[in-house]
């Protein structure tokens, strides 16, 4: 949900049309403002012109009557002027004498002759000659002083209905809103489809990049390469080139890892021969003992026990070798698969009198590539055995940690050379340059990266401690267990 709220994470197909629509709305608002302001100004100018024309005509008509304070003639002029001026909707008009009484009004019922101007109304009219507009009430008020020979003989006041002007303004506003809203929507839609079309190659690219995550490294088919913009064409070409390189490297790495496995098995084979051969001597002695002293049940029992132990030892060694050779299941690591490993290094530890401290805290099967983990641990273990001084101690600890698996391999050797430590620790596995030298560690590093894990090399005073942290794919079962 928060991802949806983050604007930067929105797809371009939405962002660009929204941007276009937003800009259109901004432009529309600005233009509407300008148009309406201009309209209002023009309307006011027109109103002033028309009002002045009305007042000019009316002044000329009433002035002689006002000079004589002639009620009838003044009324007659006001009455005749009513409705004669198109563009000025006069609601009423009246002439006020200098003594602030009304001489005559177009609406005598409301403004009786020789009565003072209602105080409430007086406030509405401009103090000096001119026009006062009140848009809220849709009215405007006019005042014009009637002068003869420089003396004021009275003033004309008129109230004008400007509702029509305001209605025109509202209509223009509505038209602008509809037109601009429609345009903004249309541009947004056009933008949406245009951008969607333009970004089509990007979605193809995204699809193929997504496939890499699933482990499928495929070049983009040629049919997509056609009909795309040149920029995308270049990107497609680069992607395909990269895909090819990566694919080749992956193949090479897999081959190397495979070879390393067999190389390791070869190395292990002689040790294993010892491990098989050693009990064999004892077992033959036991058979001889049974043949010689078959009557003594206690001797037979002891010899058979010895034989059983010898055979069990051989079986363990052979089984561990078989598992390593065959690979086993690629999706699950059982605790037993890890516990096999000490048998494979029995010879190494035995010859050098090393003390192997084996601690496997993994109690349930983990959803992780078992054979790969085995090879990683075996490689590190063999490396540690090789590095340890005679009668030294090698410790291996495997334990679930933070929803993953942590494997720690420690030795008391002189310490892992910096370049080899870097090979393990750096996030990218470089191409194996020197064949054979460090191939075991390179394979380890490669497998750890493939499993999505990382390696930390520590130097706790003496020796080396290699900590491998591997993520475990959460399965339904493990999720439920965790819950």
């Amino acid at each position: 949900m928060p991802r949806l709220l983050r604007l930067t994470s929105w797809p371009l197909t939405v962002k660009v049309p929204l941007l276009v629509a937003g800009l259109m709305v901004a432009i529309a608002v600005a233009i509407s403002q300008i148009v309406l302001a201009r309209l209002a100004r023009d309307q006011e100018t027109n109103l002033r012109l028309l009002s002045n024309a009305y007042l000019d005509g009316l002044s000329a008509a009433v002035l002689p009557a006002v000079i004589r304070s002639d009620i009838w003639e003044t009324f007659d002029a006001l009455d005749r002027a009513r409705g004669r001026y198109s563009g000025v909707k006069v609601r009423y008009a009246f002439v006020e004498l200098p003594n602030e009484t009304i001489l005559a009004a177009s609406d005598p019922d409301r403004f009786p002759v020789m009565k003072p101007v209602p105080e409430k109304l007086r406030k509405e009219f401009p103090k000096d000659d001119g026009l006062a507009i009140d848009e809220a009430s849709g009215r405007a008020w006019l005042t014009r002083t009637l002068r003869t020979e420089g003396f004021s003989v009275g003033r004309i006041h008129a109230e004008i209905d400007i509702a029509d002007l305001l209605r025109v303004r509202h209509q223009v506003l509505l038209t602008l809103l509809l037109a601009n809203g429609g345009l903004a929507l249309a541009f947004a839609l056009i933008g949406y489809f245009a951008v969607k079309h333009m970004l089509q190659p990007l979605s193809v690219l995204t699809r193929y990049v997504e496939r890499i995550r699933d482990g499928r490294l495929e070049p983009i088919p040629q049919r997509y390469r056609r009909n795309v913009a040149s920029e995308f064409g270049q990107i497609f070409d680069r992607f395909n080139a990269m895909a090819r390189t990566l694919s080749e490297r992956e193949t090479l790495a897999t081959q190397l890892a495979e070879q390393e496995k067999y190389a390791m098995l070869g190395r292990l084979a002689s040790g294993m021969a010892h491990e098989v051969n050693n009990p064999l001597g004892g077992m033959l002695n036991a058979i001889d003992t049974i043949q010689a002293h078959g009557n003594d049940p206690a001797v037979v029992q002891t010899s058979l026990e010895f034989l059983k132990r010898g055979l069990a030892g051989i079986r363990n060694v052979v089984r561990a070798a078989l598992v390593t050779y065959k690979g086993g299941s690629g999706t699950v690591l059982t605790p037993a698969e890890l516990d096999d490993l000490p048998f494979l290094v029995q010879h190494e530890t035995g010859v050098r009198r090393l003390r192997l401290e084996w601690c496997n805290r993994v109690e349930a099967p983990l959803a992780i590539d078992g054979p790969a983990v085995r090879q990683v641990v075996l490689n590190l273990l063999l490396n540690a055995c090789a590095a340890s001084p005679v009668a030294g101690a090698v410790a291996v600890e495997a334990a679930p940690a933070d929803g993953g698996l942590r494997i720690t391999v420690s030795d008391e050797g002189p310490g892992l050379p910096i370049e080899l430590a870097a090979l393990l620790e750096q996030p990218e596995t470089p191409a194996p340059s020197r064949a054979g030298k460090g191939l075991g560690l390179w394979t380890t590093a490669h497998l750890v990266r493939r499993l999505g894990g990382r390696v930390a090399v520590e130097r706790p005073g003496t020796g080396t401690r290699v900590v491998v942290t591997l993520p475990v794919v959460p399965t339904k079962e493990t999720t439920r267990d965790a819950a």
Partner: protein
């Protein structure tokens, strides 16, 4: 205003000519004036309710021109006094004036014909108020804004002044405000619109207007009707009374009811015809004028 436009050149030329002749000796001027009068007959009209009826003026001009066999100029002025002045000074051959100026200048004027309204040469004065007013009689209009028609009008001023004189008061004291509209129709407009709260009006005009412009008249209501008075007459200056043109003019009026065009004119005016009047028909008006005159 085509009718007035048509009549203007004739009137203008005659007046200009007269003005030119004013510089000459009085006797010579009189003789020449008569000669010019033989050319164009000048007929003065006071604004009764005609001020709104161009068609009527055109018909009247046509009718009189046909009967008199000479051009007839219809002379209109804003006030009664202007027509009276023109008439007394001999600048008009005849005029239709109110009974008030007739009684004022009765010694210098000769009655030619009197209109018959509802078959009688009589009319009334009405005092009207706005329909919304609560006034019921004349005394209820005290303190109102009052619209008079004309200071020389019997119905539009004299009768009201007489009623006030009986109460020993004057318009300026009796009314909150008063003004003259110089037209009976304007009195109805003033009272109907609320500009004035009460008004003095020719009852004949009010009655006719009630049919012609009911929407306007409906906004007014009568609170006082005067006694019957002599109808505004057609008169000529005494000096012209015996001139053939003037006699022809009087005959044309008296015959109007039997002439198709004359009938049309009478219909528009809502009159039945004309009769020869006598000065005693205006005794009541004269009495009232004297009362008012005595008060000043």
């Amino acid at each position: 205003m085509p009718a007035i436009g048509r009549s203007r050149p004739a009137r203008g030329s005659s007046i200009t000519r007269r003005r030119l002749l004013l510089g000459l000796g009085a006797a010579a001027a009189l003789g020449l004036a008569r000669a010019s009068a033989a050319e164009t007959f000048s007929f003065g009209l006071t604004p009764v309710f005609l001020d709104n009826d161009i068609e009527l003026l055109s018909m009247l001009e046509r009718y009189l021109t046909g009967r008199l066999r000479r051009p007839v100029a219809l002379i209109k002025r804003r006030t009664y006094q202007e027509i009276s002045a023109l008439l007394i000074s001999g600048q008009l051959d005849a005029a239709w004036i109110c009974d008030d100026p007739y009684v004022q200048y009765r010694n210098q004027l000769t009655l030619l014909a009197v209109p018959l309204y509802h078959h009688r040469p009589l009319y009334q004065t009405y005092i009207i108020v706005n329909e919304a007013s609560r006034a019921q009689d004349f005394d209820d209009i005290r303190g109102t804004v009052h619209a008079f028609s004309d200071p020389d009008s019997t119905s539009g001023y004299l009768i009201t002044r007489w009623l006030l004189a009986l109460r020993h008061t004057m318009p300026a004291q009796f009314f909150r405000e008063f003004f003259f509209t110089y037209g009976h129709r304007n009195v109805i407009r003033a009272v109907g619109s609320g500009l004035a709260e009460s008004g003095s009006i020719d009852g004949y005009v009010w009655d006719v207007m009630r049919d012609r412009e009911p929407d306007l008249v409906r906004k007014t209501r009568i609170v006082y009707r005067s006694e019957w008075l002599g109808f505004p007459p057609m008169v000529a200056p005494n000096a012209r009374a015996n001139e053939p043109a003037v006699k022809a003019f009087a005959a044309a009026l008296l015959d109007a009811a039997s002439d198709p065009l004359g009938r049309q004119i009478l219909d528009i005016l809502a009159l039945d015809g004309f009769t020869t009047g006598t000065p005693d028909m205006y005794q009541s008006t004269l009495d009232k004028w004297r009362v008012v005159k005595a008060q000043v």
